[in-house]
Amino acid sequence: MSDDARLDLPNPAPRPEGELELLEKVWATPKGWRIVTAVNNTVIGVFYIGAALTFFVLAGILALIMRTQLAVGDNNFVSQELYNQLFTVHGTTMMFLFAVPAVEALGVMLLPQMLAARDLPFPRLSAFAIWAYVIGGLVFFSTILYDLAPNGGWFMYPPLTLMEYSPGDNADFWLLGIGFIEISAIAGAVEIVVGVLRTRPPGMTLSRMPIFAWAMLIFAAMIIFAFPAVILATMLLEIERAFGWPFFTAEKGGDSLLWQHLFWFFGHPEVYIIFLPAAGLVSMMVPTFAQTPLVGHRLIVVALVATGFFSFGLWVHHMFTTGIPALSLAFFSAASMAVAVPSGIQVFSWIATIAKGRERFRITVPSLFILGFLFIFTLGGLTGVMVALVPFDFQAHDSYFIVAHLHYVLVGGMVFPLFATFYYWAPMVSRKMLSERLGRWTFWLMFIGFNVAFFPLHIAGLAGMPRRVWTYPSNLGWDTLNMISTIGSFMIAAGVLAFLIDLAKNFRMGSGAPENPWGASTLEWLPNDVYSTRSIPHVTSRDPIWDNPNLPREVEEGRHYLPGVPTGARETIVTSPIDARPQYVIQMPGPGWMHLSAAVFTAAFFLLLTVKAVTISIICGILAIVSCLVWAWQLDKPSQGEVDIGAGIALPTYRTGSSSHSWWAMVVLMIVSAALYLSYLFSYLYLWTVSPEVWAPVGSPALPALGYPLGTAAMLVLGAVILAVRQRSLPREPKRDVGTAIAAVTASALLIGALALEIWGHWQTGLRPTASSYGAMVYMGAVLTVQAAVAVIIMCFFAAARGLTRQLTRERRVTFDNAAIYYYYTVAQGLLGLLLIHGFPRLAG
């Protein structure tokens, strides 16, 4: 870079008096026990990872108990009943309470630093997500201690998990317990999509974005499309258990395979949701240890995207043995092959990068874990290709071969990169680095232990040992293999123990560790404090620190963008999605109590519902909503005009309309809602192909007269029109806005009326949801639209309240816009539902 260019930095030095002090003050973390109100991504990130690690250890202990029971055949160390709970809680905890939260936690902690943003765009949302998850997760896990744990497997197949075969609250703990995990995941997804696409530093175009940001963006997009399927499935199962609506009961036209389709449509992307961020992290660490830019950067981006998409076409490979026609299976076998190619691309890119460094690849604890990951994940990928072949899967499915395969890809593919991450990025958040010496013990114990524990299980599986068995006969030749596996599992535990000791000795939150000890090139290694970087750098390459070794000093002196706090409160820069052109400055909230209270009451709502304490549960639900409203009331601060961020760029401090981060969050939520509704659409049509004999008009009461759906549609459309008209005629100046209040109330009333008419229309034909799967599906459509309507009505009243308190104008209109677009979405969903429910049987019958 020429001298002129380097001198041409956005802001001059030295910075004015007090600017740094104000920055520190505005971003300070609450002290003492008030830290629970903190929202800084580094603080939340550390709590999040700590919670995830805790669940990892807890679920690991369950695994040790399981392995002890299986060490010899015909064993009686634990009972059949306890074992069935153990493997269910182990799997559920590892998948839902450890794996997804861990990678999400890394996103929360690392992404803003890698993007030199001061925080995630919705700081209190991630704080809400983590507290709901911690409370709910701990309560869920505790059920193993008093015989209330679910025992249907982590995948909870009906009919086994229906009331008839799983009486008691155990299964409900899973169904409702996982509910709040789903909320946390989606909240995280919203943050990450908006964060990666809109809060990058100026100049960090899409092609210059770090690989981890790509991985997290794809992770978030996958959550958005995959989680709704399992949300619908859990809703259906819980409703069948609680109210008897026969979605999964064959005698009444239901089908247990419907659960499997919905669950695995989520479940397969789920494992790539877990793996992709880890692969992204590896792509950040390998170049550092090779001291050279990543070879095949574009290929890796493409590989991540392709994996993300193709992973949605694999789900039936978990159902190869259910008797589905062979040609269908072939489609999924083909897609399972296709998804192997991008993984291969990544592996060879990493190897090429290792070879490219001028010096030899540096061996440190993190790079050892990366090598371990390569070894284990490659083996897991190869067995994955094997089971993608349908005939081989006929033998391997539901045997210990699959147990071996899944642990190779998940532990190799995610846990090893996770441990590499701990050692590599610890200096970013801890005052001391972790110990190289203890770290080597951790690595070797875990690596050797893992292979000793899981390799023999491939053989045991093909030797006939099925999964989920609490014991096995000792004359089938499986004893030695199992004993070896148990020994290996205790070696892994020793390794994890070494790590925990290392953490206890060396990990202390705070700054003071060596700056950029590994010599990395990306922005998270710039000098950092509670406010992230002193100024937000202008980025011109993929490896900013290598290409401009002065960058850390420039940034620390405040020479780059936004070195101060022009609005007097927490802010960061919003940039355009592709070219990272600065667009505006977000005014972000700081620590608070409301999101914490919302999290506690949300968790309480779900958990109390599980034990059928309905009244208190509803009260907690209302308190959760109230907390959210108070929380939201504190957002949407008025515009403070334009502020100068440097380089002569003046940015607005309030944004309205489709480029506002708030609008983007609503769009993400609408996509989630749409994915949920489309899952429902699939379920309706699927059950019709299975049981056309229970459908109207043949097997059920005839549909209501056309007047009903037309009336419903008219009310929906009218409500939308009223809001649309109001959108164009919001007050110019802040005043007591009665017009908006009237519009909001009327639109809400129309929505309620529309849905009431729809439900009454079906009820008066004599159709009941418990009568058949058709009845259940008809009323389920209404349930989903009622669900959306409840959210919309709350938002409408909120906007009305803003209007009445003079906080709504043509410019300052985010609260109204959000309610309006979600209203339009609800209307669209409602109309589609009417078309399906009133149109399809008439067409098909």
Partner: protein, 329 residues
């Protein structure tokens, strides 16, 4: 270091495989047509996979430790495209289509003479034969097959999802409430294989197994004729006493013994239970004393199973019942 470790692991596992190989429930010793096809596929994929793994490990080591010219060759996007895209495209296309051909090979060409309905129930197997003449024979927890002749199994379940798996003969197929799944088994040699439920069905899933006896065709016919017949009358005073106790305590309400008044269909058919290879869905061997143990302690042997334990009988009464049931060959 890693390379040495990898080699050690392969050697060790090879040795271990030999010990597990010869089990009666092992896919490594196929004795049926589908299992043999899959076994070939398995070995080809395993060897190919091993070679690929060795290459990847070798490349990694070379990238780390090799000389500058070797490392320069590895450090190119060309390697990534060649090894990461071109090689997989070629090899996976071949593999995928081989897989399709193997699937196609499962197309039954001739209708099978013998049809068997197997219903997986918590936690045992209801087996019903139907021959060409339309004669049906009810039995439980054991399957007999004629060697070399395809047998069509119709798999169902009245309660939860189970899965029928005899690794030596074929891959598994699920038993799903509301559906009928068809599996055609052809044994290639006489012998006894063991199978087990392979879909978690709660409770005593781990103890839901069965035996498959492959016999020469005429021997199979003789067996089927014998199985179709009524129960043998009890011989000896002890067995007679056992029959009396059986009837007196209502065992016939759940269990059928053809030729007597016991006609219950809730539990397994016991008409020829004495000749079976095992008891309680392979949870127990078939010896006289095991009958007694089961009647008294079924809830300890197979927790949560749906037959109540009978601790009301004295030692002599249990011996009598056992003698009676053992005699039902």
């Amino acid at each position: 270091m890693m390379h040495r470790l990898a080699r050690l692991l392969w050697l060790a596992s090879g040795a271990l495989a030999l010990t597990a190989c010869a089990g009666e429930q092992s896919a490594f010793t196929p004795k049926g047509i589908e299992a043999e096809r899959i076994d070939t596929l398995f070995w080809v994929m395993t060897i190919a996979g091993g070679v690929i793994f060795a290459v990847v490990a070798g490349l990694t080591l070379a990238a780390m430790l090799g000389g500058p010219r070797l490392r320069a060759k590895i450090a190119s996007e060309k390697l990534v495209i060649g090894a990461g895209i071109l090689f997989p495209v070629v090899s996976l296309t071949a593999l995928l289509f081989w897989g399709f051909m193997l699937m196609r090979a499962g197309e039954a060409t001739e209708p099978s003479a013998i049809r068997v309905s197997i219903s997986g129930e918590r936690w045992w197997w209801r087996v019903t034969y139907e021959d060409e003449a339309g004669r049906t024979v009810d039995t439980a927890n054991e399957l007999h097959l004629p060697v070399g002749q395809p047998v069509t199994l119709t798999l169902t379940s009245p309660d939860v999802i189970h899965s029928f798996w005899v690794p030596q003969l074929a891959g598994k197929l699920d038993m799903i409430p509301g559906r009928e799944n068809i599996l055609t088994l052809t044994a290639t040699q006489p012998g006894i294989s063991r199978g087990q439920c392979a879909e978690y069905c709660g409770g005593a899933h781990a103890l839901m197994s069965f035996y498959v006896v492959a016999q020469e065709p005429d021997e199979f016919r003789r067996w089927l004729d014998a199985e179709a017949g009524a129960a043998r009358p009890p011989e000896g005073a002890e067995a007679l006493e056992g029959q009396r106790l059986f009837a007196a305590h209502g065992c016939g309400a759940c269990h059928a013994v053809r030729g007597t008044e016991a006609l219950g269909t809730i539990g397994p058919d016991l008409t020829h239970v004495g000749s079976r290879h095992s008891l309680a869905a392979a949870a127990l061997p078939n010896r006289t004393e095991d009958f007694a143990r089961w009647i008294r302690d079924s809830d300890h042997i197979k927790p949560e199973n749906l037959m109540p334990p009978y601790r009301i009988f004295s030692e002599e009464e249990l011996a009598a019942l056992a003698a009676y049931l053992e005699g039902l060959r």
